[in-house]
Symmetry: C2
Subunit: 647 residues, 2 copies
């Protein structure tokens, strides 16, 4: 028996002569991509012959220990590949000892880099997988039904369980599809449990949608389940905002109105349908192409989005209707994607700390940090904070309010073209410079910026800069002494800072930042800071080794600005990272790697929830945290900046 | 440790002193009914103390080895029961040796007699079961969700699996229901797999609906899942009849019209909804009370009812879309019962031999007959015949046509008040006597019978009587010689026999039986006879030991009449039984005993399908079988009657 070695895994073993390389790989536990399952119609199983050549009969042409080229192979291999000794594994049979290299693109379980947000490497292993089969046509002697025939063939070829369920709506079309495909079909199987789609012939396309349903912002990612690539990113304001700005006001709306829950549930489902429609349209498809949806949200948004009575999460003892991960038929939820698709929701941890924080955890993986103290802050209308490492992880939630997402801010907007995303203020002249999303140059280099408003990262910047330049005091109050046309009284008589003059903007109005806006940011940052401090005390640590800032801002926030306004406790700025929407990344990871769902179930039970808002000194601490940092003791890492502010 | 013996099972064992009798029974494997699970609120666990009395301290009052009466017990036990030493098992604790009798009504898995049709004894063991639980209310220290709490309690108290699924629509209401019930709820679990209903407090009611969807007639049975009793029986014409009289014409309709399948599917679903509505209304409820539905049908009716493309069953190689039993959410099918209810369909055997014949088999159980040759004939628009015993079972189907269900018969109707169900004709005077459903007396004793038409059993009777009295010949042609006003020419010039004169009826018209009607019955009986003979030959038997006649006639057919017209091969009439709608009984049994579903899966694979219509001499034999019996050789058991006819 010849010996075959596969690289880069190094797996080796004896195989029967005449075995093709695809079967040889399977026998030796090497996972080679093969959409068609080895019937020479997909061309995915390209491998490269490294060793196994010899001169045959002294003739000057290189022969190999592989069977000769088949005509099928030349359809899928380029001239260059043929010259480089590439073969299709399903075509080439082992005739002698061989060393074969499996290139990255041909490996079954690929390492993939998640493209949006922070770069994250993960194993591509989605719940939804496609299998191509060619069946024996029915005969008078063979009484099997179409469904049995499909399942028998899947079992024989791919070792899928024989008792796969066939979604009822798929069963309805099965006889027609099987015959349209002349007994050659592509079967889409969910979680090795259920057949959710059967298509005639070989069909490779498989899309999934990951959605982060924030209290204020809904962010969605249309992913290719076969490559792990994010094809389209989109977001919208959560349409429930008209029923209440934060989780408590939404719960109140549900309690005060008989149809309140139904209305809010309907609004978010409609929102997701809108996103699914316009995202698939962008690549020339319809929402039918989406074969699975993953959702993350905080616990209240979860209950409302699923239509589960949310009122008991809002009051002691804050009990959720369900905490487990759910797999719900999209059609039962009213989500208009493929009719047999499932919607997977990540599990709840406790109280308001919901699937979104589980998403943050499986994306950031602080439980894999062996010793250092990590803090992960997910900034949203409801903020979640995690602290710890592999030894112990604590979490809490805090009512941040929607200010950092641009809501309840006079000129706030979400991160979209026209939003001011970065701001600097000259402490001498008090003049502003700023950058708008969609423009490369900063004002004042660019005069006409077409600014429309300010998004989260700009809001944090402007507050930090107002503080650094002395325009606002440590208490947050405007200092009316400065002699600058930008510091003026607004219509309501309270002070404001003009960030952009009307003629620079596309809205024909001065874009200003008001005393009220400063207050809203102070409430948000105080909530986050107090929550962070409680967690540090509960864990018994005085210092943080690193801080990760996550949030669906669209654009990254400036970590120095964030620390300067006191959003989180002191930390070496080199170890502070802004990672974008980590909860959304968690939704994507759960969509693309089914093992992340197991990890989510485990960590949701493992992380210890700390209720901080009920601490007796909460109000007192919260009030104190409203002020901007003035103690270099508490913030040694930004002491040099604070020293200048103090002068 | 005291010894406790339970009768009538005789199970015995040692139990800890102080154990209540309900727990003692569980420990010893004795199944005692207890809806509330032992919290003293249902009163179902009545048992009778047989031995275990003693005279305490010489005082003249009988003491027992059981703990004293609790006040709770007197709420549920009558004076008489208390005098007879009845106790509630959940209240009475074991203090010494005991002999306890568990009466039939208190046994968990009851033997029940199915009331409609033939009396059938079965074990009450439905897929849908109710469990009463009292939970620990949620606290700040106990972070479990409502769903987890319900499942944990079910697991602790009833050993149900921890990973029960909660139907999504049930999950939505869960927080409200749990609190409405003050943490005491009744949970309905389907198949030990899924929670399909949660109700506040103790709720015992559990209904199920069994439906036999025939090509012509739909028969439905509303059953009490807690007692096995049939509460309401109802039937209707299959509303698909307007799209075609038999299975082939329905398939043709589906093929010729783009919306043909959808229309027919919609029609039967609407029909089932109508039945569910009026049947539950009859007992003051709504269809919401129905917690599971079982369906039987032939393979074509199955495909159309489920909306699965039926055209490939209609042509060689007659392949079904699915043959397996299905569990489909009623809401996915459009069946308007409890929103989380499942619809269970029995499996297909082969070709047209569908779940209805599987229903017949699990009701009649010919596979339990050790040696004798049984033939079971299910008479419907599509007839199915089974032959054999525990050793071997064969089946076939035959295109009977709807005549025996009253369709395509001039005055045919389904078995309902006003239908002539029994007929006798005096061979001397050729005068008719008949009996109408809803009337006790026969015509002519009753002059005004209010007859409206003739149902299946009447149709078979009238043909047999016409033949016996010589009004029709062996060929089926009318003999115009007889001098009777009842034998006359119809409007079309062809002969007919007047069964009821206009003034007797409620329709103001003579009810007659025409030459065409006779032909329709001949076609039906010839199909059944030829199918039966082929099966006998395939099995290699010359004689039948018994014949069972089943069919959704509503009323039983006269076995002598049926044999006289040659519907089935000769058999001792003592061993011919008419059992009513056995397919419907099978649907009921599958509803009431989940083990019958396993039996159905097994027998559907086990029975051997014989395709008879493709035999080369089929047409020839069919033509020969059209005639009425004239050979006493072939029918020795009715030779004495045939001899008279022959004279």
């Amino acid at each position: 028996m010849p010996t075959v070695i596969f690289q880069p895994s190094g797996r080796r073993g004896l195989v029967d002569g005449g075995t093709n390389l695809l079967d040889a790989a399977r026998q030796l536990g090497v996972d080679i991509e093969s959409v068609c399952g080895g019937v020479k119609v997909c061309g995915k199983c390209k491998v490269k012959l490294e060793t196994g050549f010899f001169e045959k009969f002294g003739i000057d042409s290189r022969q190999t220990n592989l069977s000769p080229f088949l005509p099928d192979e030349t359809d899928y291999l380029t001239e260059g590949e043929i010259g480089d000794n590439f073969r299709l594994a399903c075509c080439a049979k082992v005739l002698g000892d061989l060393l074969v290299f499996v290139p990255e693109e041909s490996r079954g379980a690929k390492q993939v880099v998640l493209e949006t947000g922070k770069e994250r490497v993960f194993k591509l292993n989605p719940a939804v997988r496609k299998y191509y089969i060619e069946m024996q046509p029915a005969t008078l002697e063979d009484h099997r039904s179409d469904a049995e025939r499909v399942k028998d063939t899947l079992n024989a070829k791919y070792h899928l369980p024989r008792d796969l369920n066939v979604d009822y709506l798929v069963l309805r079309d099965l006889p027609t599809v099987v015959r349209d495909g002349h007994w050659k079909v592509t079967v889409t199987v969910w979680n090795r449990q259920e057949i959710i789609l059967v298509e005639p012939g070989l069909v490779e396309r498989a899309l999934g949608l990951a959605v982060d349903v924030g209290t204020t912002t809904v962010a969605a990612y249309l992913c290719d389940l076969r490559t792990g690539q994010v094809l389209v990113v989109d977001s919208m304001m959560n349409p429930q905002v008209r029923y209440g700005e934060d989780v408590l006001s939404r719960i109140t709306y549900a309690m005060m109105n008989d149809d309140g829950l139904e209305k809010m549930h309907g609004a978010i489902i409609e929102g997701i349908n809108t996103l699914a429609g316009r995202m698939t349209e962008k690549i020339g498809l319809t929402p039918d192409a989406i074969l699975e949806v993953t959702l993350v949200f905080n616990t209240v948004m979860q209950h409302i989005a699923l239509g589960i009575e949310p009122s008991y999460i809002g009051r002691s003892p804050f009990t959720a209707g369900t905490k487990e991960a759910q797999n719900i038929k999209a059609r039962d939820l009213g989500i208009k994607v493929w009719k047999a698709a499932n919607v997977h929701t990540l599990p709840v941890e406790a109280g308001f700390v919901g699937p979104d924080n589980v998403g943050v955890l499986i994306a950031e993986e602080p439980y894999k940090e062996p010793a250092k103290i990590r803090m992960v802050i997910d900034i949203g209308t409801n903020g979640e904070i995690d602290i710890g490492n592999a030894g112990k992880l604590l979490c809490t939630s805090c009512a941040t309010g929607p200010a950092l997402e641009g809501a309840q801010i006079k000129f706030g907007m979400r991160a979209a073209p026209g939003a001011i995303e970065k701001v600097r203020i000259d402490p001498e002249t008090m003049e502003a410079s700023y950058k708008v999303i969609g423009q490369d140059k900063w004002y004042p280099e660019l005069k006409k910026t077409d600014a429309k408003g300010i998004c989260g990262s700009g809001i944090i910047d402007v507050v930090a800069e107002l503080f650094k330049s002395g325009i606002i005091q440590k208490s947050g109050r405007f200092n009316m002494k400065p002699d600058s046309p930008r510091v003026r009284k607004a219509e309501d008589g309270r002070p404001e800072y003009v960030l952009a003059w009307a003629d620079e903007t596309s809205i024909g109005k001065d874009i200003s930042f008001t005393q009220g806006d400063v207050r809203a940011v102070q409430l948000a940052k105080a909530a986050l800071y107090v929550g962070s401090r409680y967690l540090m005390e509960k864990l018994g640590v005085a210092n943080l080794d690193s801080v990760t800032l996550a949030g669906a801002f669209g654009s990254y926030i400036d970590k120095e600005s964030a620390m300067l306004i006191g959003m989180f406790p002191d930390c070496d700025l080199d170890n502070v990272m802004a990672v974008g929407n980590a909860a959304g990344d968690g939704a994507k990871l759960a969509l693309l790697d089914v093992e992340k769902r197991d990890e989510a179930a485990w960590i949701a039970r493992e992380v210890e929830f700390v209720e901080t808002a009920i601490e007796p000194d909460f109000q007192e601490r919260f009030a104190a945290a409203m002020a901007f940092p003035h103690s270099t003791d508490k913030f040694p890492h930004i002491g040099h900046i604070l020293a200048k502010v103090g002068k």
